[in-house]
Every structure is written in structure tokens, then in C-alpha cells.
């Protein structure tokens, strides 16, 4: 297990390096840089630009240096916790990011748990009652969830929550708690607002997961050991719990890797609609204003989050399934 864990950790490193290169290239792609456009707008408005500060920033982040050098500066800084400087907010990126990363992670984790709680029983029911009305009905609802664009669902839910429960519109907490230290009341307020994004982001993932779980469990149920167990006279519930379900569980854990990118994607869009204080709205704004270090940090964080999620799922899988940890490769 230790060897497997180590190896899995080592393979993460080149992946992360490659991701950082891609992120860097993307944030560099737009022509010009933030300082140039900033100077242009300032001059257009007839204001003077603090040349010293510009020159300082230019030097600090090496904007006049060749690409690869800029990349190295950025990447090494990133590893040491220096995320660069947000031009737009005139603050180091770490301070802008602040709580937002935490809230993004919170929403993602809660959404995954929600997805599991919903998908697991429904998936089992659908597989054991294949082609029943319940199966058809649940599959259909799942499909609707898959096909409805998240953002619109978010909008409607927001409206309904406001009309029927009086939840304040937008944000992840009532306005009076913003910038307050964490307290029980604040936590409750967050919980009150949290369920909308969680349900909205969860819908599409849940539907996909139900379908995959159903297909997997159906495959397992056809196998001969199940027939043997049944012939032996095992009660159906025990038969299901003892063998096929455990096999399907493996896949369930492995599926985090598939689920996570989707959830983070969904979370970003939904966050914009609900104006949640997560990474979504800021990411868009920073992309549009070419605030490259801020955008880069967000992209990098989201990618790292996904990679770590996949790592956890692989490690859990290795714990569950001895074949994987002995062979040292994930069974795909």
C-alpha cells in the first residue's frame, strides 16, 4: 500500500507541472498584458499613471522577460505560496483568494456527499427493479436533471427559495454576516443558503452516477456467483449486500475522479448566477480583465483540486481492492 501510495504521489507531479504549463500559456494568450491595457485606459481618461509603480510591477513579475523565465518565476513562486499580484485589486492574490477557495471546496465536498446520498439508493433500486415503473420513472427524472442547464435551474430555485422560504437572494450567507468572524448564527445562515447550489450542482452529477451505478450493478447481478448464492438459498437482501454491492462500491469510489471535474465546472457557473462568494464570479472577472495572476491561480487551484480528488479516489480504491494495490495500476 505504501509503495502504491508513493508511486501515485510521484505520478501526480508531472501531471501538475503539465497543468501549470497549460494554465500559464492560457493566461498569456491574450495579446498584451494587464499593465498595457491599464495604462491605455488610464491615459484615455486623462489620468496620469504612476510610472514608478508600473515599472516596479513590470520588474517584479518580469513582464518584460522571455516567456519561459516568466513561467519559472510564476511556478516557483506558486510552490512557495506566492501566488503573484492581482493588478485589478491591487493586492497579492493570496489575499484576494482568501475564503473563496475554502468555500469552493466546501460546496464541492457537500455536493459530492449529496450526490452519493441520492444516487446510491436510487441506483440500487433501479438495478434491482430493472424495467419496473419505478426504474423508468427515476431514470426519466435523472435524465431531466442531466438535460436541464444548471444555471437556469439555479435561477428558478433562487426565486422559489426567496418566495417560499424568504432566503435572501444571492450570496452564501445573509448580508449581515459577510466579513464577520465565524459563529453559529453565520454557520446556520450559510447552511440555509448552501442547499440551493448543492442541489443544483448535484442534479446533473447524480443522474450520471445513477446510470453508471445501475449499469455496473446489473453487470454484477448477472454473474454466476449471484446465481450460486441464490441457488444456495441466501435471502435476497443479504445476497445483494454481501457480494454484488461491494463490487459496485469499488466503482462508486473510482467514480469520484469522473464526478469532480463536472462538479467543479458546474459550481463555477452556478456560482456566477447565485453570486456566491466562491471562485466562479472572480474567475470570470479576472479572465475578462486579463488579471493574469489571479486567473492563473484560480485555474491552477481548480485543477489541483481535481487532481487531489482523483488521488483520493485512487487511494480509496486501492484500499478497497487488493488487486489494484498489488498490481500497482488502477484497473480501468
Amino acid at each position: 500500500m505504501l509503495r502504491y501510495t508513493l508511486r501515485r504521489f510521484l505520478t501526480m507531479i508531472p501531471t501538475l507541472i503539465a497543468i501549470s504549463v497549460i494554465v500559464f500559456v492560457i493566461i498569456q494568450l491574450p495579446p498584451g498584458d494587464y499593465l498595457e491595457s491599464h495604462i491605455a485606459t488610464m491615459q484615455a481618461q486623462g489620468e496620469s499613471v504612476d510610472q514608478k509603480k508600473i515599472a516596479f510591477l513590470r520588474e517584479q513579475y518580469g513582464l518584460d522577460q522571455p516567456m519561459w523565465k516568466q513561467y519559472l518565476t510564476w511556478a516557483t513562486g506558486f510552490v512557495q505560496g506566492d501566488l503573484g499580484y492581482s493588478f485589478e485589486y491591487d493586492l497579492p492574490v493570496t489575499e484576494v483568494v482568501g475564503d473563496r477557495m475554502f468555500l469552493t471546496i466546501l460546496i464541492s465536498v457537500v455536493t459530492i456527499v449529496f450526490t452519493w446520498l441520492i444516487a446510491f439508493p436510487i441506483g440500487i433500486y433501479s438495478a434491482t427493479h430493472q424495467y419496473s415503473w419505478g426504474d423508468y420513472g427515476l431514470t426519466f427524472i435523472g435524465f431531466i436533471g442531466l438535460a436541464t442547464p444548471n444555471f437556469l435551474l439555479a435561477l428558478v430555485m433562487l426565486y422559489l427559495a426567496n418566495v417560499y422560504f424568504g432566503t435572501s437572494i444571492g450570496g452564501l450567507m445573509d448580508p449581515e454576516y459577510i466579513d464577520q468572524p465565524w459563529s453559529t448564527a453565520k454557520l446556520l445562515s450559510v447552511l440555509e443558503h448552501l442547499w440551493i447550489p448543492v442541489v443544483v450542482i448535484g442534479t446533473s452529477g447524480t443522474a450520471a452516477m445513477i446510470r453508471r451505478l445501475r449499469a455496473n450493478l446489473l453487470d454484477e447481478l448477472e454473474k454466476q456467483y449471484v446465481t450460486t448464492g441464490r441457488a444456495k438459498g441466501l435471502p435476497p437482501g443479504k445476497l445483494l449486500r454481501k457480494y454484488p454491492l461491494r463490487m459496485a462500491l469499488n466503482f462508486f469510489v473510482a467514480d469520484i475522479g469522473n464526478l469532480l471535474p463536472g462538479i467543479i465546472s458546474g459550481a463555477e457557473v452556478v456560482a456566477v448566477v447565485l453570486s456566491l462568494p466562491t471562485t466562479g464570479p472572480l474567475l470570470i472577472a479576472s479572465l475578462q480583465s486579463q488579471d493574469m495572476y489571479l486567473a492563473g491561480s484560480f485555474l491552477m487551484f481548480l485543477a489541483i483540486l481535481t487532481v487531489i480528488g482523483m488521488l483520493i479516489s485512487d487511494l480509496l480504491l486501492a484500499m478497497l481492492d487488493p488487486r489494484i494495490r498489488l498490481q500497482g495500476a488502477p484497473a480501468k
Partner: protein, 403 residues
């Protein structure tokens, strides 16, 4: 007579050594049918897929003849009908059959709330016209026409306010089956025109990612070795990116100065750039399995080049499978475009897609005041469901030899 038969009966009929293997005509048809024929038979049994296929065909037909089906032009503004709610089609007016018609609207600007208030005027009957002349358009940009499937009533619309009677010249009545937007443009017409972009973006995107997937996956699967290792790593990296943030980043790169058409192409390519990985993986694993087959070795020994072996001998073996899985990834692209345009990062007006239309519904006020502006989501949901069911059916049918 039966007594004359000995217990050891011998048939006098000529011996046919193949009698056991003889096929009934039905069986013969089944065994000799080509793969595509078998697929069609199997698909026919999948009712839901068939219905979905029909729905898809219908949508694409409407998209092709958008100018003709839509009652109004894409940009026709009705300044008097801003944010008008949908008009319902009625058949009976005060108990007598009139045929399909709509009631006209009375319009009043509420001076205290500044809200435009439309009330249905049950006196004003506006029968629909079919196969009629309406807004002029250039069909496919080729020739002028005014011909529409249905148009609003031609009677000059009576418009009463404070004892005065206004009549709108030209158009006559109105037909806003799905209401109008903030410029008084008919939503139904805009949805119909928008289907052109929304429906093709998935197809063009899938075509790009299909080519990428086959070429890259083909190389990796056929040659193996370091090419395979590199491709595998690249795929892994791309897959570990959350899709939408990466799409957002890439589409923010597209310069604002580009023409709408270039933006459209750019977005499609961006959508395809992340999508090919799944196809490439499928191609690779299939090729890995197939290249060990005897017929492949035979082709190699005969001196066929890799391109010919891959294209001629290997690909046809699982093309059907690829098409099926490609059709399953179209909905993702359509949703992706919708989400991007909704956020204002994708297509921009004057290009009209369902996502661009939904962009107007970004505000919570819309849900409260003008809920019909969210209607473009209905075709999105329908088309995505249809592609999903159709793709499922295709995938089942793609393996016709497996029962």
C-alpha cells in the same frame, strides 16, 4: 398401410448432407444482412431512440427552414410590444368556431410602477394566416421572399387609447406565441433562428473532435510505445481540468474584434479541444485489441502502410461504435455553448443561439416578471434528451451481433 412399414424405416428421398444446416428464408436474410442493415433492425426495436431520432430530424428541418417557419424576422422589433407575454391560440370565439386565432392585447403603461401592462382584449380577434406573406427575408442568403408558414392577422390592428383609435400600418395583428423580449422581438422566431447556431455548433464541434480523436487515438493505439505514453499523459492532464473554467479561460482569449463567424468557429474549436480525449481513448483501446488480429498481420506482410491498415482495415471495424459514442457527446457541447453564452463568454449578439437568448434571462427579475424569457431552455432540454436517447439506442445497435 402403416403395417407394411418395417420398424427400421428408411427414407427413399435423396440424401441432403446440408439438411441440418439449412436456413429458413428469414434466417438466411438475417445471416447475410450487412452490418449496417442489422444495426437498422436493432435500432428499429428501440422505440425511444426512434422517437428521439424523429424529434432530432424535425428540429434540424426547422433549423434549415428557419426563415420560413418563423413568423417574424430575427430582428423585427415591435416597439409597442415590449415584454409582451405569450399569446395563446384559441379556436372558439364566444362559442362559435373561428379557426386558430389569438386575442389582441391592450397596452397600458402603469405610471406608478412604470410597468408595461398587457391585458387581453377579448373583442379583438386576430385569426392566423397560413402560407402567407409576412416579414421579408433572404432565404439562405440567396433569394428574397416574404413567404411564411403562418403570420399574424392582416387586419390593421385596432389600438384604442383614450377614445382615439390607432391602427398600425403594414403588419396588422400580432402573433407572439412565446412572448417578446426587451426590444419587442418575437421570442418564438428568435428561438427558431437560434436553433441554427445551437444545433450546428454541436455537429461542427463533434466533427473536429472526431477527427482529432481518430488521428491521435489511432496513432497511439497503432504504434504504442512512446507515442502512446505521451498521448496518454496528455489525455490525463486534459481530463483533470474542470471543463467549464478551461472553456471560459479559452474563450476569454478570443479577441473582441473578431467577426461573429470567427468567434463561432473559435468557440467550436474550443469545445472540441477538450472533447476529443474520450474518443481518442476509445479508438486507442479498440486498435490495441484489433491490431493483433490475423488479418492485420496479413495486411502488414503484404506491405500495406500504417495509414492504409488503420483507415482501411481497422477503423471500419468499430466505426459504428465511434459514431454512437460521438452522438452521446454532442449534448455536452450544446450545454457547454449554452453555458458559455449565458455567462457572456461565448457567442455574442448579433449571433443568436439559445445560450445568447438565455443570457437575457440572467436576472432574477426576469424569473419574477417575464418568466417566458426562460423558454429557450425548453428546446435545449428536448434536444439534449433526444441526443441522449438516440445515442443510447445507436450504441446498443452498434453491436448488432451481441444480442
Amino acid at each position: 398401410m402403416s403395417e407394411s412399414k418395417t420398424p427400421h424405416y428408411v427414407s427413399r428421398e435423396p440424401f441432403d448432407p446440408y439438411s441440418v444446416e439449412k436456413l429458413t428464408p428469414a434466417q438466411e436474410e438475417l445471416y447475410l444482412a450487412s452490418q449496417w442493415r442489422l444495426m437498422w433492425w436493432k435500432l428499429k426495436r428501440h422505440k425511444l431512440a426512434l422517437v428521439s431520432g424523429f424529434v432530432l430530424a424535425l428540429f434540424y428541418l426547422v433549423a434549415a427552414f428557419a426563415e420560413w417557419v418563423a413568423p417574424y424576422d430575427l430582428h423585427t422589433r415591435n416597439a409597442r410590444f415590449i415584454h409582451a407575454p405569450p399569446q395563446a391560440i384559441h379556436l372558439f370565439h364566444e362559442g362559435t368556431f373561428v379557426g386558430p386565432f389569438v386575442y389582441g392585447y391592450n397596452y397600458k403603461l402603469n405610471m406608478s410602477t412604470l410597468k408595461r401592462e398587457f391585458t387581453v382584449n377579448h373583442k379583438n380577434v386576430q385569426p392566423l394566416r397560413f402560407f402567407c406573406e409576412g416579414d421579408p427575408y433572404r432565404f439562405w442568403g440567396l433569394f428574397e421572399s416574404r413567404f411564411h408558414l403562418f403570420c399574424p392577422s392582416a387586419n390593421a390592428m385596432k389600438y384604442e387609447r383614450a377614445g382615439q383609435t390607432f391602427s398600425l400600418s403594414g403588419q396588422g395583428g400580432t402573433i407572439f406565441l412565446l412572448g417578446t423580449d426587451r426590444l419587442g422581438r418575437d421570442l418564438l422566431s428568435r428561438i427558431i433562428y437560434g436553433s441554427r447556431i445551437s444545433l450546428t455548433i454541436g455537429l461542427v464541434g463533434i466533427a473536429v473532435s472526431f477527427i482529432l480523436g481518430i488521428v491521435i487515438g489511432g496513432l497511439a493505439g497503432y504504434f504504442g510505445g512512446w507515442i502512446d505514453a505521451v498521448v496518454q499523459r496528455v489525455i490525463e492532464v486534459l481530463r483533470s481540468f474542470p471543463e467549464i473554467p478551461l472553456w471560459m479561460a479559452l474563450s476569454a482569449v478570443l479577441p473582441v474584434t473578431w467577426s461573429p463567424l470567427l468567434i463561432f468557429l473559435g468557440i467550436t474549436v474550443i469545445l472540441a479541444m477538450l472533447d476529443w480525449t474520450g474518443l481518442a481513448r476509445a479508438v486507442r483501446s479498440k486498435l490495441m485489441a484489433l491490431r493483433e488480429e490475423d488479418y492485420c498481420t496479413a495486411a502488414q506482410l503484404l506491405g500495406a502502410r500504417p495509414r492504409r491498415i488503420i483507415g482501411r482495415h481497422l477503423l471500419p471495424g468499430f466505426m459504428s461504435h465511434l459514431i454512437a459514442s460521438a452522438s452521446l457527446s454532442i449534448p455536452g457541447m450544446i450545454l457547454g455553448e449554452t453555458a458559455l453564452s449565458f455567462l457572456g463568454l461565448g457567442l455574442r449578439p448579433p449571433i443568436t443561439s439559445w445560450g445568447v437568448l438565455l443570457n437575457e434571462a440572467q436576472n432574477i427579475n426576469v424569473v419574477a416578471l417575464y418568466p417566458w424569457l426562460m423558454l429557450p431552455v425548453v428546446p435545449v432540454v428536448i434536444i439534449i434528451l433526444a441526443f441522449n436517447f438516440f445515442g443510447d439506442g445507436l450504441r446498443d445497435a452498434a453491436d448488432p451481433y451481441k444480442t
